[in-house]
């Protein structure tokens, strides 16, 4: 049972990160996030620099809210938007983990290439460096 619960949690976490990435895939939404990274702001303030209707900007804001990237608070008649940094940290962690993984894999791939090709192409100094990765 705990395994099923763990799997559900992992799935909802994955869906959450997906929603964040989908939200970040749009330049207007990235610009909104950039604006809010300098401090919270009213919806109208956020919309101001964009050459589009308030309605169009509001749609972007709703996507960002749904993904959990930004939050809305009502203060009287004003709607104040702010960034929820933890959601971005989660996405950032995923990117960093994957980048690190592939950099390491490609290092290993290049080591194997050197090992496979050392007799054909490479000089003695490469040969010595590759000895520890001898074939199994």
């Amino acid at each position: 049972m705990t395994e099923i619960r763990a799997r559900k949690e992992s799935a909802s976490r994955a869906a959450r990160i997906d929603a964040v990435f989908a939200a970040l895939a749009d330049p207007t939404r990235r610009a909104i996030i950039e604006r809010l990274s300098r401090g919270e702001a009213r919806v109208t303030e956020v919309a101001e620099p964009f050459h589009m209707s308030l309605n169009a900007v509001s749609k972007h804001i709703r996507v960002l809210e749904a993904s959990g990237v930004i939050e809305r608070q009502r203060k009287g008649r004003d709607h104040i938007l702010s960034i929820n940094t933890s959601s971005l940290d989660e996405a950032d962690g995923w990117i960093e983990r994957m980048r690190c993984y592939w950099e390491e894999r490609l290092d290993a791939m290049e080591r194997l290439l050197r090992e496979l090709n050392k007799d054909r192409k490479l000089g003695p100094k490469d040969r010595k460096k590759d000895r520890k990765h001898g074939s199994r």
């Binding site: 929603a19 990435f21 989908a22 970040l24 895939a25 749609k59 950099e103 290993a108 791939m109 290439l113």
Partner: protein
């Protein structure tokens, strides 16, 4: 390139590799060679690879060390030796959600420019929860790609 079913490129790595594209392509697609570099667990680990190299064909890497074992699996989407390989990919690192990996190999004389792109495929929740925003996201995906999110 814009695909209509991803949440955008997440990781992109470029490298100039001192080998011919054909040889690099084989490293990615021949089980005995895959087993020699794809496992992220150095030493002690027994890595077994298998693959059915055709579009829609499956591959898997089973890495075992002592009692624990990890499986990375996926299926081939596009196979164009030696220029391009596209496959789906899931494993512990992706929280067992499906992702998409594209490996492009551009020959530069005796060397090769390798471009690896790793994207997330949207889970069902995105389709259900963001159907309206979705079409708009896709319109801008090309811009997102050039900005290297």
């Amino acid at each position: 390139m814009v695909r209509d079913d991803t949440t955008g490129p997440i990781v992109q790595i470029r490298r100039r590799v001192k080998a011919r594209a054909e040889q690099i392509f084989d490293l990615w697609t021949q089980p005995d060679l895959m087993a020699r570099w794809m496992s992220p667990y150095p030493g002690a680990v027994d890595c077994k690879a298998s693959c059915d190299l055709r579009p829609g064909g499956a591959f898997s890497l089973v890495m075992s060390s002592g009692e624990s074992s990890r499986v990375v699996s996926g299926s081939y989407v596009e196979i164009d030796r030696p220029r391009k390989l596209v496959f789906t990919w899931m494993g512990p690192l992706t929280n067992n959600v499906n992702t998409l990996v594209t490996v492009e190999l551009n020959p530069r004389g005796d060397e090769t420019d390798l471009v690896l792109t790793h994207e997330r495929l949207p889970t069902q929740a995105i389709h259900e929860g963001h159907t309206r925003g979705w079409a708009h996201i896709l319109d801008h995906l090309a811009a997102a790609i050039s900005n290297d999110v």
